[in-house]
């Protein structure tokens, strides 16, 4: 096992030791300090790959797991996985340092928290480095499960449990879809490795399963990355502790879907369905998320919808970037390569500023006790450092210079402008929608960023509305957001450092077919006076105008869109499904024995009669029939009459006696059919049974000595006749077909082999003695049962009498 896997599994291995640390060391020191070493060491380890990967090298590691099924843990370090690996461990380190100051050592169950967090981190690392599809799926579900555990960390709150359940239901739905898609891909290519699939693209692209596999994989990506309309779990996941929201629900887990789409672009990209789904859903999500974020008054909910919207932006860019696969090497291809680059750039930027903003909200919540924007205001004076960080993050998210969000937003505008002129896949007609929607959504984004920053920190300071005495946060808590905030500014001034060492290698993994020259994307803060800049100026102008007039329209927007939410639809759908299954079950599980017997008999008739008819099984052969004597006819008639008497008897004694007569006539048949032992047994058993019947029913209800006539029911009649008919047809068809000689002649050696002259008895006690032994057991068990039933009754009666 190489050193690589030691680091990959470090989070999961160290999670095992957390309870031990918690038990013995938590009184001395916050165990988060130990935990923070884990992502830090992995981060440092991953840093050493940067020069080699930037030079175009990739690394492959394998551990054999189930080699006979070709299930091996194959990991692959290339630009894309390294970018994600660095984000996961880097942001992870900062989040854990932040959580040391956020999560109280005394009040919180820290061991649970850090075990879940490390589990998540390990799953996420495994996910991004996996090359084996099924292993990737395994880690994918592990992220869902650990996210579920983290959301419901405060499990005594109802809203936490509901949020966790919702997140699990939606992401696991997508996960199963993705698994189906993966299996289709494996079927098409006969390999588990993503790299081998990319190497054999023409097999997969000309296969009939191409589109279904694509849809299934996209379902997984869209649910995980909270795309429209699956994004509803993300705002509810805000019930988790803020470090978790910051880490999982802004920087890492929600980007797993983005990762998947980027990873699958070489396989599915260049197809119109892929383009329209990824870019179309992405831009709808962008608009939906930014509009809904405006309606929120809770800061975390606002950030959640803003995350949804930004993920939509990245997804849209990836969709536009997939056109590069369509055009291939050439000028048009290069234009869309830039879009993919922009997606990666914004992915990185979003992780920095959204992580910052979540930590800021955590600080506000921690210091004021409030998260609702209506109670906050004027915190600028009391929390100047927090305000500065929030301003950096907020303006970066709004897309203003001198922050990194500005650069990626400019590139986004450039990409949507390019796509509106691409002229393929029907873009010449409605391609113009892309820049329009993007522009409108950017205005909304600008407005909610302004609301976020200035409604919280600007305006009137009202200490009476806050539950705690407000002061600046401790330095430990400010450390992580400051680092991220500095990164936001650093990337603005030196974007090409990041671009050259991290993003370009990632670009080569997403679009491996493009020539090297097209990867050379230069980002510059000032790119001349062009369409993008005009659009940005328009966003700022209209955005400021809207922000100044929020009083006039914001409340109206909140009121008018109450019932129109997707949540409403989800809740109705879920409870509707429950109601439907309850009513369905109640409809057929009636509790009535008769109904269940009707199901059983109908099934019997339909299957047997149906297969008899279907396979032409009804063939009669009367040749081997023996002769009929007058006795036989008389007995048959007698039996029918006796059975009908049982059926129509209105007197209990009469029914029992008729049943006895039936039994005796059966024993007469046994006499005729040369079965003396059977005749004897039947006679005796029938006598005892009749006596039992009489004995039992003598004690039955005095008022009901006579039973009412059997009521006529057409259903019962049809089913009974069908049953009789089925058995008759089966019996007749089977009788006509003797496929081979019976083995009876062997048992005629009873005297030589067993020393018996009665063949039937020899079979019972010698040849097939086991049957008899167990039959005796049946009799013994029945006897014990009867005894216990009778005895227990008398015991209870005694109790009743003593009372």
């Amino acid at each position: 096992m190489s050193i690589f896997y030691t680091f990959m599994f470090l989070p999961i291995i160290s999670a095992i030791f957390i309870p031990l640390l918690y038990k013995y060391l938590n009184r001395l020191v916050h165990i988060g300090w130990f935990v923070s070493l884990v992502p830090l060491s992995i981060f440092i380890y991953l840093l050493q790959y940067i020069p080699d990967v930037a030079a175009g090298d990739t690394y492959k590691y394998t551990i054999s797991w189930i080699p006979s099924l070709d299930m091996n843990i194959i990991s692959y370090v290339d630009g894309l996985s390294l970018l994600f690996g660095l984000l996961i461990t880097g942001v992870g380190t900062l989040v854990i340092i932040y959580s040391i100051f956020y999560m109280s050592k005394i009040r919180e169950a820290l061991h649970n928290f850090y075990i879940y967090l490390l589990m998540f981190m390990g799953a996420m690392l495994g996910l991004v480095f996996s090359d084996h599809l099924l292993v990737l799926y395994g880690f994918w579900e592990l992220t869902s499960v650990s996210s579920f555990l983290l959301i419901s960390y405060w499990y005594e709150r109802k809203s936490s449990r509901q949020g966790a359940l919702k997140a699990l239901l939606i992401t696991v739905l997508g996960g199963f879809g993705m698994l189906a898609g993966f299996i289709m891909m494996i079927m098409m290519t006969d390999t588990y490795s993503i790299r081998e699939m990319i190497a054999n693209l023409d097999v997969i692209q000309n296969h009939t399963l191409f589109i279904p596999a694509m849809l299934c994989v996209l379902l997984g990506a869209f649910t995980k990355s909270a795309q429209f309309p699956f994004g509803i779990w993300l705002p509810d996941a805000m019930e988790a502790p803020t470090p978790v929201s910051s880490y999982l629900h802004s920087a890492t887990m929600v980007k797993a879907g983005i990762y998947l789409v980027a990873r699958m672009t070489p396989v599915f990209g260049g197809n119109s369905v892929w383009f329209w789904l990824v870019a179309g859903i992405g831009i709808i999500t962008l608009l939906y998320g930014s509009l809904t974020a405006l309606r929120q008054t809770d800061l975390k909910a606002m950030l959640a919808y803003s995350t949804i919207s930004q993920l939509g932006l990245i997804m849209c860019l990836l969709g536009i970037g997939s056109l590069a696969v369509y055009f291939g090497p050439g000028e048009s291809g290069t234009v869309f390569t830039v879009a993919t680059f922009a997606a990666l750039f914004h992915l990185f930027n979003h992780s920095t500023f959204k992580g910052t903003l979540f930590m800021v909200v955590g600080i506000i919540d921690h210091e004021t006790g409030r998260r609702d924007i209506r109670y906050l205001g004027g915190l600028m004076q009391v929390m100047p450092i927090t305000f500065t960080i929030a301003l950096i993050g907020g303006l970066s998210m709004a897309g203003l210079p001198p922050f990194n969000g500005f650069l990626s937003k400019e590139m986004f505008f450039a990409a949507v402008n390019d796509v509106s002129q691409a002229g393929i896949f029907g873009l010449s007609n409605i391609g113009i929608m892309f820049p329009i929607i993007a522009w409108v959504a950017s205005i909304f984004t600008f407005v909610y960023c302004m609301i976020f920053v200035f409604k919280t920190f600007g305006g009137q300071y009202r200490p009476e509305k806050l539950t705690r005495k407000v002061h600046e946060a401790p330095w430990g808590m400010l450390f992580s957001p400051i680092i991220l905030g500095l990164l936001v500014i650093f990337i603005f001034f030196f974007p090409n450092v990041l671009g050259k060492y991290i993003l370009t290698p990632a670009l080569t993994s997403i679009l491996p077919m493009m020539p090297i020259s097209s990867y050379d994307v230069k980002i510059s803060a000032w790119h001349g006076l062009n369409m993008e800049l005009v659009m940005t100026i328009g966003v700022i102008a209209i955005g400021i105008l809207l922000f100044k007039t929020t009083k006039r329209w914001l409340q109206a927007l909140r009121n008018h869109t109450q019932g129109l939410t997707l949540n409403h639809l989800y809740n109705e759908g879920l409870s509707g499904m429950e109601r439907f299954s309850v009513s369905l079950t109640n409809r057929y599980m009636t509790g009535s024995l008769r109904h269940y017997l009707i199901y059983i008999f109908s099934f019997f008739v339909i299957v047997l009669l149906g297969s008899l008819l279907l396979f032409h099984g009804i063939q009669f052969d009367f040749a081997s029939n023996s002769a009929i004597s007058i006795f036989d006819v008389g007995l048959v008639l007698g039996m029918i009459i006796a059975a009908l008497t049982v059926l129509f008897a209105s007197n209990r004694i009469m029914a029992i006696v008729a049943l006895g007569a039936l039994g005796y006539m059966v024993s007469m048949f046994f006499v005729i059919f040369l079965a003396p032992d059977l005749a004897l047994t039947q006679m005796v058993v029938e006598t005892v049974t009749t006596v039992l019947f009489l004995l039992c029913f003598y004690h039955l209800p005095k008022l009901k000595k006579s039973i009412e006539r059997i009521p006529f029911k057409l259903t019962n009649l049809i089913i009974s006749i069908a049953m009789g008919l089925t058995v008759t047809l089966l019996g007749l068809s089977a009788n006509g077909h003797k496929l081979f000689e019976p083995i009876t002649s062997f048992f005629e050696n009873a005297y030589e082999l067993a020393g018996a002259k009665n063949i039937v008895n020899a079979i019972l006690v010698d040849f097939r003695g086991f049957d008899t032994m167990l039959e005796i057991s049946v009799l013994a068990i029945a006897g014990l049962g009867v005894y216990i039933l009778v005895h227990q009754r008398s015991k209870r009666r005694e109790q009743r009498e003593t009372e």
Binding site: T590, S592, L593, R594, L597, S624, N625, A627, I628, V633, M639, A643, V646, A655, L659, L662, G663, I672, F673, A675, P676, L678, V685, T689, L692, F697, L700, I707, I710, L717, I719, S720, I721, M723, G724, V727, T728, G731, L732, A734, N735, T744, F747, E748, A750, Y751, K757, N758, I759, I763, L764, D771, T772, E775, L779, I781, G783, G785, L789, V790
Partner: protein, 112 residues
């Protein structure tokens, strides 16, 4: 003869099924008894009827009738007897406990 027996078995099964589908406990037990008679008759019919002599080696004859179905039926009769006895006592106890022999009233709690 075999054809006649199979038809008889079919009629008995029809009557037994109709009884089993009724709602009185007694009729259900009667129905199962009739069905078990029918099945026994079907078993012996399947071995072929009236060929050779009774399966006793003392007989001086060319062939014997099939002994295997007879052994099987013998086992079946005894088991059926045991089950019938148990079911009868169970019916009796059910009546004692619940005061009814109507299956529609013996449904148990609706909200279980």
């Amino acid at each position: 003869m075999e054809t006649l027996m199979v038809i008889l078995v079919g009629i008995l099964i029809s009557i037994g099924t109709y009884l089993i589908l009724s709602k009185q406990l007694l009729r259900i037990v009667l129905g199962t008894s009739i069905v078990s008679h029918a099945v026994n008759l079907l078993l012996i019919t399947s071995g072929g009827l009236k060929t050779g002599s009774a399966p006793l080696l003392g007989e001086k004859t060319a062939g014997f009738t099939d002994a295997i179905p007879q052994a099987l039926i013998l086992t079946a009769i005894v088991i059926n007897f045991a089950v019938t006895a148990l079911v009868l006592v169970l019916c009796y106890r059910a009546y004692q406990s619940f005061g009814t022999d109507d299956m529609e009233q013996l449904r148990g709690n609706e909200h279980e």
